[in-house]
Symmetry: C2
Subunit: 225 residues, 2 copies
């Protein structure tokens, strides 16, 4: 696991993976090697050209995990998948993309207009827009003021905000995409599930964290609990 991007999202992924693993004892769980490295510089700044690429930092983490014995890599951060190619080029083991895991969960006969709740860097890099286009889906994005409100909220969540105020602000931002015609939503940032559960979303919510959990278990040949 390439983690720490951010810390709470990493712990959230681990907790969901553990909860989704059918296990009667410790020994039934998956082994995880986690490089929880919050020192990786801000991804949004890098994608916006305000700072250097974080590709080398992520590639170094990936190499370290392969050297430590990892059989497969996952990264708990959608935006950092802008450097997915750097990671894949650095190792010989497979990398399970959170973007692919998420869009592959969409029903081909289901909603076509998909609201993408993505942070600035993820949006600017076009990660979900490309993946949705390739499936014949139409991404629905926020107005600039809503996008700015989302980023401010993500940084508040990263700083520890998890209360009802953060939850209702996130639900309102989800509602803004519904109002713009989205028929389903992608939680395209791993900070979102820290405050918004599918039950509180105004539309069906495809949570990238949970879908990466499912893909990880599938890779390991484990049927979810």
């Amino acid at each position: 696991m390439l983690g720490g991007l951010g810390p709470a999202a990493t712990v959230d992924f681990m907790a969901r993976l553990i909860a989704a693993t059918p296990a009667a004892s410790d020994q039934d769980h998956l082994r995880l090697l986690v490089d929880h490295n919050p020192a990786v510089p801000d991804r949004h700044d890098a994608i916006a050209g305000r700072s250097a690429s974080v590709g080398p930092a992520l590639a170094a983490m990936a190499r370290g995990l392969e050297r430590a014995g990892a059989d497969v890599l996952v990264m708990v951060c959608n935006t950092a998948h802008a450097w997915e190619d750097d990671i894949r080029a650095a190792v010989t083991i497979p990398f399970l993309s959170i973007i692919d895991a998420t869009v592959d969960a969409l029903d081909d006969r289901g909603p076509r207009r998909i609201g993408v709740m993505a942070a600035d860097g993820c949006r600017e890099a076009g990660l979900y827009q490309r993946a949705l286009d390739a499936r014949g889906c139409e991404p629905v994005l926020w107005e600039p003021s809503e996008q700015a409100a989302f980023m401010a909220l993500v940084y508040r969540i990263k700083a520890g905000a998890r209360g009802p105020e953060a939850a209702s602000a996130m639900a309102a931002l989800a509602g803004a995409l519904a109002a713009r015609g989205a028929e389903a939503l992608i939680a395209a940032c791993t900070e979102i599930p820290l405050v918004l559960s599918p039950e509180d979303a105004p539309l069906p919510l495809y949570a990238s964290t949970d879908l990466l959990v499912a893909r990880t278990l599938a890779f390991a040949g484990i049927a979810p609990a």
Copy 2:
């Protein structure tokens, strides 16, 4: 971090460490290298002589973490500290003992009769009894039937039980030590805080998980949030 012993306790430690770190952004958090290895065989069976030592498995994890660049080691499991010497012998970096972190938090002018909520292996290995004796404190332990009830509860928690029933069963076991004369309690198993908070304990509760968090931050030169 030597983790996975068990999985939920490891995630609980990480969440507490992150929450206790004063941070305005991701980059303010500590880097963690986590070997979350639930495949380590049952520690209680090994201490009871029913299976082989798990020292070699823990030593291998410690060596791997040192090789991956760790500056210091912690292990989120009290019972596994029975093999602390094997871990220390395997590496050149320091190891922060959860047992020391916990008993060092006791006030020298405070309670002398300390209830030790410890799992079978931790108790049989005498880890807290020796540490308390060395400080002039008297360990208060459960009757055999209470000890058996605690072990059954720990395995239920490891299998996912976290609800009010598990919480009240844990509070009752804490109460049993109070009834036997304890003036304070040590949560000497990292599964305990998953269901019992200090506010719900009948006596002052020294939680080994939180005290290892505090020692880890202190080692890193960080004042807790």
